[in-house]
């Protein structure tokens, strides 16, 4: 058995009941050192020994991702915690203790930054209606090849203009949200195959917001949604994953 590290906190009294436990059903424990506590559970060493091969076992990896998130979410609901990236494992608890000692300042800086705050996600999608995206040109058969090309060029140009316009609108939405956030990050827009939506995503922002300002954020998103031609989607509150790592 080896030790899987989920998150680090500094005021974790008792662990909440996380129904199904940790990765692989393991029981959650706290490992304390240097004024910090690590949320851990035991996992089978073999499973992580060769994760490159395991990548192909996607069902397994998906279960690990879900379990990881489940633990972070359950603990993070009650305490400020700095979540670790997926599949951070150590040979034993002593190794976890030495990591807590060695990286104490880094963990403390993250915890200082996120305590009392939540991460919110705001995504913006282009509305499908405006431009046809250059695909609906079959309505009327063009009289000639040249006419077809002309129509096609116009459609593409209009589509490009619509994207540019949508991206500009997304910048405005992002700027307005960033103004009431402590920090903000723009993640790359997700691919259509990931969102399952046909509309193009033009904003995938994460905002670190004081818990007391959560209502302000919601109200702002509502207001922005009325004043823009983008579809806005708000998610959260999240444990501040996006603000726990280093650079954006």
């Amino acid at each position: 058995m080896i030790t899987y590290l989920y998150a680090v906190g500094r005021d974790l009294g008792t662990l909440p009941d996380v129904g199904s436990g940790g990765v692989g059903g393991g029981e959650l424990r706290l490992v304390a050192e240097a004024g910090l506590q690590a949320v851990v559970s035991d996992v089978e060493r073999e499973a992580f020994e060769d994760l490159d091969a395991q990548q192909e076992d996607l069902t397994w990896l998906a279960a690990v991702a879900r379990a990881h998130h489940g633990v972070v979410e359950a603990v993070g609901r009650e305490h400020a915690i700095a979540p670790l990236a997926l599949a951070t494992v150590y040979l034993d608890d002593d190794r976890v203790r030495s990591v807590l000692r060695e990286s104490r300042e880094g963990f403390t800086a993250v915890l200082d930054r996120i305590t009392g705050r939540d991460e919110w996600g705001v995504k913006a999608y282009m509305r499908p209606s405006g431009a046809s995206g250059g695909s609906g040109s079959a309505a009327e058969r063009p009289a000639s090849g040249a006419a077809y090309l002309r129509a096609r060029r116009t459609a593409l140009r209009e589509g490009d203009a619509a994207v540019t316009e949508a991206e500009r609108a997304a910048d405005e939405v992002d700027a307005a949200l960033a103004a009431i956030a402590i920090e903000s990050r723009r993640h790359p827009p997700q691919d259509r195959s990931l969102t399952g939506r046909t509309e193009r995503m033009v904003l995938n922002g994460a905002y670190l917001v004081d818990r007391a300002s959560a209502e302000d954020l919601r109200a702002l998103v509502d207001r922005l949604a009325e004043g823009t031609r983008l579809d806005l989607e708000l998610t959260g509150p999240w444990v501040p994953y996006s603000f726990a790592g280093g650079g954006a």
């Binding site: 490159d52 609901r77 990236a85 990286s103 300042e105 990931l194 399952g196």
Partner: protein, 131 residues
């Protein structure tokens, strides 16, 4: 008309936090969000066992494909495969989605094989925090 803002909750309400009105996307957008975060965000610190997750986007999409199928199967009940596929709603949609995901995977794999597979992961500790 539907509302311009869609709430996709991640956390149930608890402990003074106000939970979002949760509307689950049928396609599982929230899952994509979860994967995006647990795979690529959070503190990246060296573990004792080196793990190379080469292409996060590729991996995320692959995972999403698997989980979407499992979720859909669950939603439809354990006997979904016994039903006439043309009668069970959502199946065509799922197949379409899977098709899209497969195409995307193929494209990403193509791209990956032509570029050097050197990608980040396991940078040293949280010290990159300082600055």
């Amino acid at each position: 008309m539907n509302e311009p803002v869609r709430w996709t909750g991640s956390m149930p309400a608890a402990n003074g936090r106000q939970g979002p009105e949760t509307v689950r996307q049928p396609g599982g957008t929230d899952l994509a969000d979860i994967l995006e975060r647990v795979l690529d965000k959070g503190i990246v610190i060296a573990g004792d066992i080196q793990i190379n997750l080469l292409d996060i986007e590729l991996l995320t999409i692959k995972l999403r494909l698997v989980v979407a199928s499992v979720d859909r199967a669950k939603e439809m009940g354990i006997d979904w495969w016994e039903r006439d596929p043309t009668l069970s709603s959502g199946r065509g949609e799922l197949e379409e989605e899977n098709e899209r995901l497969r195409e995307r995977i193929a494209a990403l794999e193509e791209a990956q094989s032509t570029r050097a597979p050197a990608r980040r992961r396991r940078r040293p500790a949280a010290q990159e925090e300082e600055a």
